[in-house]
């Protein structure tokens, strides 16, 4: 039997096990929407802006390890989705984006709502495909899903001209796919893994530094086992939080620009560093020359060879899937009769304790104005550390990363690579849809929130009971902080004037809101909100305008060259 391109697309999505698509209709995708209408296996979530569709599909993927799917029309539909695509690309999130295109005969004619979708998105997708013939559609979809979730994951875009969705052909879903040009390495080289084990055992001042690769490859169990059997200190990047239990004694906190003193010092001064699914980026190790001044041996496990020795030269590269390699490394260490130098390790931990004693995350707990850190601490207590926390971008993001202890993977969702304000609310929608029973919280700032707040309407339509914690400091706080530190207190255009009454705003969308101005009211308000299981509640915390995120490594400085709170 022959099916139309639109029907073939939907059948392929069903075959791929897609339960839900985030999208927005328009001329070029009308046949696809018609095919969606005629079935009930694939659910469609109607967002209010295509940026919301791509962020929601991304959040859905991050919270579930399923491939997120979004569907948008040609032209402005695509361009609106680009921010979300780039966000997913920077954080290696598996996602498939389906875009409508003008009919094949109109391509290149400057047709109505024509943009070169494949051209525009080329630098921010793992791959993209323009399907010019309905007979190639099924294999293109199969390929897209395969590429998106294998190897180093990433977004893949399929651009489908309208006439291709209307044309028909025989439907056959390809059982498997083989590509001569794409075969990611999965298993790590056994010789390299042995070398790594040897180096780890010889270490006097070992350090384990892990990133988003641990989350993406579902390797938290293997990592936890490795750290505990060795007894070595462990730190996570912003993207890696939850890969190792945040409340464990081996955990030194996050490292990097706003990392803890102990994590950054241990990173700088270790003699053997095991880097796992992380990429030594500028926000993590600061200045690579400064980092290189201390001699140390580096073992680097990553699925992507181009991430290895990119910013920092490593001694033992291991290319492979992080979970596989860590599993093999644990096995080698288990059978190895040699033991690490216990005395040296004890001295190293003693040094780390001294660093810890700096209490670098200290803040004024007696303050009469609400401190943002206090809100996050209370949020952690009230949710018993078990919520899915989706963050926007700014100071609130860093405080949440510092003060909420993530014990499990996929509980911390944020735009680390691209740093996209507006990500929070739509990504939280995706996370809630992927986990209908979970407590999903969006931590945001009054500036970030206003970038995608139209999605409050989507939340109403689909009854998404997200709790929104807004740390409202009336400033683009992170921008203000940089202006205070590096631009002589000239707060150029970073004050958020003319703010809406957020409580009234969310009420107009049919949600409820609470405004909190006193520290004493923080905990009761949170408790009240989280009791309301079926409602979206917006908590507008009026926080200290002048609070800064510490520690801070200024741009271009070494990772151990931190500004601490008391130094200012």
């Amino acid at each position: 039997m022959e099916l139309s391109g639109a029907e073939i697309l939907i059948r392929c999505l069903q075959e791929e096990g897609v339960e839900c698509v985030f999208g927005y209709p328009g001329g070029a995708v009308l046949f696809i929407y018609d095919a969606l209408f005629k079935q009930d296996k694939v659910k469609h979530i109607l967002v209010r802006h295509e940026q919301g569709a791509s962020h929601a599909a991304d959040g859905y993927s991050r919270a579930s390890n399923k491939t997120g799917v979004c569907l948008v029309t040609s032209g402005p539909g695509v361009t609106n989705a680009v921010t979300g695509i780039a966000t997913a690309y920077m954080d290696s999130i598996p996602m498939v984006i389906i875009t409508g295109q003008v009919p094949t005969h109109a391509i290149g004619q400057d047709a109505f709502q024509e943009v070169d979708a494949v051209g525009i998105t080329r630098p921010c997708v793992k791959h993209n495909i323009l399907v010019k013939d309905v007979r190639e559609l099924a294999s293109a979809v199969k390929k897209a899903f395969h590429i998106a979730r294998s190897g180093r994951p990433g977004p893949v875009l399929i651009d489908i001209p309208k006439d291709v969705t209307a044309a028909s052909c025989k439907f056959e879903f390809p059982e498997s796919i083989s590509m001569r040009s794409y075969n990611p390495v999965i298993k790590g080289h056994p010789g390299q893994i042995k070398k790594a084990a040897q180096l780890l055992l010889e270490a006097k001042r070992p350090m384990i530094y892990t990133g988003g690769g641990v989350i993406l490859s579902e390797a938290a169990a293997q990592l936890t086992k490795l750290v505990k059997m060795l007894g070595y200190p462990c730190t996570n990047t912003l993207m890696g939080l939850g890969g190792f239990p945040g409340s464990d004694a081996h955990f030194l906190g996050m490292l990097g620009m706003h990392g803890t003193y102990q994590a950054n010092m241990a990173m700088q001064h270790c003699d053997v560093l095991l880097a796992v699914g992380a990429r030594f980026d500028d926000r993590v190790i600061g200045n690579p020359q400064h980092f290189g001044e201390v001699p140390r041996k580096i073992i680097h496990i990553d699925i992507d060879p181009s991430s290895i020795s990119k910013r920092v030269k490593v001694d033992v590269p291991i290319v492979g899937n992080v979970r596989e390699v860590l599993g093999d490394l644990v096995k080698v260490l288990e059978t190895n009769r040699e033991k690490h130098d216990a005395k040296a390790l004890k001295a190293w931990w003693a040094q780390i304790e001294l660093w810890k004693a700096k209490d670098c995350l200290r803040y004024d707990r007696a303050s009469k104005i609400i401190k943002p850190q206090f809100v996050v601490e209370k949020l952690y207590e009230v949710t018993k550390g078990d919520a899915i926390i989706v963050s926007d971008v700014g100071q609130h993001q860093m405080w949440t990363a510092q003060f909420y202890k993530f014990d499990k993977p996929r509980r911390w969702i944020n735009s680390g690579g691209l740093g996209t304000m507006g990500f929070g609310l739509p990504a939280a929608m995706g996370a809630q849809i992927a986990n209908p029973k979970a407590t999903v919280t969006c931590v945001t700032g009054e500036a970030s929130f206003q970038m995608c707040l139209q999605e409050l309407s989507t939340c109403k339509q689909y009854r998404l009971p997200i709790k929104i914690v807004c740390l409202n400091n009336r400033y683009m706080g992170m921008v203000r902080q940089w202006q205070q530190f590096f631009h002589g207190n000239r707060y150029s255009e970073s004050y958020m004037d003319a703010l809406p009454d957020f409580v009234a705003l969310v009420q107009s969308y049919g949600h409820s809101g609470i405004r909190i101005e006193n520290p004493a009211d923080v905990e009761p308000a949170l408790k009240d909100a989280f009791k309301r299981k079926d409602e979206l509640v917006f908590l507008d915390f009026i926080t200290d305008q002048s609070e800064n995120v510490f520690p801070m490594v200024p741009g271009g400085m070494g990772i151990s060259e931190m500004i601490l709170a008391e130094e200012l």
Binding site: R122, P123, Y182, P305
Partner: protein, 163 residues
């Protein structure tokens, strides 16, 4: 350092722009780029001449390998190889220059492909350096037009680059 990189890739529309886009996005140099289908029409063979430190060249090879359509990448400059470039050059050939240019073309083993009353069009192949030398050797003012293909390269001996 100058490197000559050979790439075998799927002969698909868009593959070329992925490669050139990669070079511009990451700030790598392209001195020349040539591409054409191979004896297997589903594959193209590309030669890129670039310059960069060892670290940069390592990243270029890794980033190229990451492109979904790229089947294989080799840095030909790592071992002995042959490279050739083709140049077509149109020169003003009048008066005493006419004989002189004919003689120069012979010395460089060029061929005159087209002759008019006032011009010669000469074909030359060789390394880039040889083509440069030819341009240096003739009078600058007689050159009307040049077109060069950029280098193509292949390994010496038994080494082959296949899918």
């Amino acid at each position: 350092m100058r490197h000559i990189i050979s790439i075998l890739l799927e002969n698909e529309s868009g593959a070329l722009s992925r490669v050139s886009g990669l070079f511009s996005a990451r700030g790598y140099n392209i001195e020349s780029l040539t591409v054409a289908p191979t004896e297997d029409p589903s594959l193209s063979r590309m030669t890129i001449v670039t310059t960069g430190s060892d670290d940069v060249i390592e990243q270029i090879t890794k980033q190229l390998n990451k492109l979904i359509e790229v089947v294989k990448v080799v840095d030909l400059s790592e071992s002995s190889h042959i490279e050739r470039e083709l140049m077509l050059i149109k020169v003003r050939a009048v008066g005493k220059d006419r004989d002189e240019l004919k003689r120069m073309a012979d010395i460089f083993r060029g061929r005159i492909l087209d002759v008019t009353e006032h011009t010669y069009t000469i074909e030359l192949t060789g390394t880039g350096a040889k083509l440069d030398a030819f341009i240096q050797a003739i009078e600058r003012s007689v050159i009307l037009e040049t077109v060069r293909t950029g280098a193509s390269g292949i390994s010496r001996g038994e080494r082959v680059l296949r899918a």
